[in-house]
Symmetry: C2
Subunit: 149 residues, 2 copies
Amino acid sequence: MSETDSESVDDKSAASEENAPEADVAPDFSRGEGLLPAIAQDVRTGKVLMLAYMNAEAYAETVATGHAVYYSRSRRRLWRKGEESGNIQRVREIYIDCDADTILLKVEQIGGAACHEGYESCFFRRIEPRPAKIVDQRIFDPRNVYRNS
Amino acid sequence: MSETDSESVDDKSAASEENAPEADVAPDFSRGEGLLPAIAQDVRTGKVLMLAYMNAEAYAETVATGHAVYYSRSRRRLWRKGEESGNIQRVREIYIDCDADTILLKVEQIGGAACHEGYESCFFRRIEPRPAKIVDQRIFDPRNVYRNS
């Protein structure tokens, strides 16, 4: 299963009774060049807050600390969510998808805003149906949270 | 903004009043080598169903038809969700994240199961906290849905 996407029809063999899915599977960091997408969803409301990436080290630290740690592709280092803004994410549950190449975190978002632009969710813009619309309210002004550094 | 991740502190400038976010932004397919992650979420329950990838063509067809179309990385072609199983996704709303490099679809999942393994959601396994557990019920048996082809 490690060589195929979830969309691969070959994966159906994994669902046979002889080869039923195991609950106790780990994220497969051999895929995606060591980076897997991780979705953060509010554990109470179900709102999708953001998507970022994890490498094996970020995932291990997330599990060990209970706080979301991602890997910043632009800064090429671990990104401890909230390290600058204080808006950490307490991780309540972690799910893995059928191919073990996408992670879903159910989190408690401290500060009420996951987005660096000050919105609760990074998905604050609905682009379809038209007209596009900003659908969230700003929780904070980024200029007051992020200092020049 | 196109060169940075959402985690980049440089992005904070985009949130100033002089450069406020625009609602009417399009997915930026110049990033991620032309493939962007797309999260499908049940429009009624808020359940996260799956994550797949879209290229510009898949996105355009999704908007034009109102049915989710992804790009299969393993098969290297458009993947019209439900083309084999019949379990199409009717796309009700589309959201874009702050960096315009992740897509969120709010969908109506026909057939009640998004996962090729027969579960409502591809995230049917909770791996933390331990012990890991399969948390969903199978909606269908994949052997009855996917024919050898």
